[in-house]
Amino acid sequence: MCRIKCEHVMDGPGPQEQVVRVKQATGVYEEVIASRSSISQNMLETSSVLARDDGKVLIELPRESASGKWRLWINSADTQG
């Protein structure tokens, strides 16, 4: 498993969910609705690293993002594990 930096946006919509935003390698933020259990200390649990490229890693989010993406390229510096 990998963990990526995230920022809390709001609680909900579900009873055990939070909306967080994560920063893509492009610099554009993506909102994700995630289970609270998958977030700890502003880190979101994701898949393990699926691919690497020039300081970036490809991960799969635990849920589809607000604009419909499952997999994002994230700067390695914003990840753990």
Partner: protein, 184 residues
Amino acid sequence: MILTDREIQSAIQTQQIRIDPSPDAAAYSSTSLDLTLAGKARSWKAPIGGVQIAIDPGSDGFKFSEVYQTYTTDVDVPTSGYLLEPQAFLLGWTQEHVSLPSHSRLAARVEGKSSLARLGLGVHITAPTIHAGFDAPLQLEIVNHGAIPIRLRSGMRICQLIFEQTFGTPAKGYAGQFKTQSSG
């Protein structure tokens, strides 16, 4: 391949499927498991008259949170009932928390119940898949397509889950010793 009631129960016993609270024996059919409606939901508000708005979910960086905070509001769904008017749209959730560990090689689909469908009640909108790795109560997109208001009650059987075996383990759930091995 769809799991039968016996296979679902076996998968729950071995924690390949986790459901909390645990479903009672009457919640099963031969090939599905009924789930129940939670007591909290979110209702969508219509925009005020004379204002033209549009949601743009395909834009990069689309903020669901802004739409949600502006156009939805909390509602209670008590056991005494919440009246869903014709054409009304409600975001609801199941009482049950469902977990499908990625390594379990299982996914599921949430489907409506025919008893409710014939009244005009839909419980999801084109996104029925519960992917391997899912871990939360299920969100339901509830719409009354009928002409008569429908009373929703907390705890009522609202949807059913159909479990399917996946062919192989998804990359995100595979942590075996050969994960990083290349063919070279």
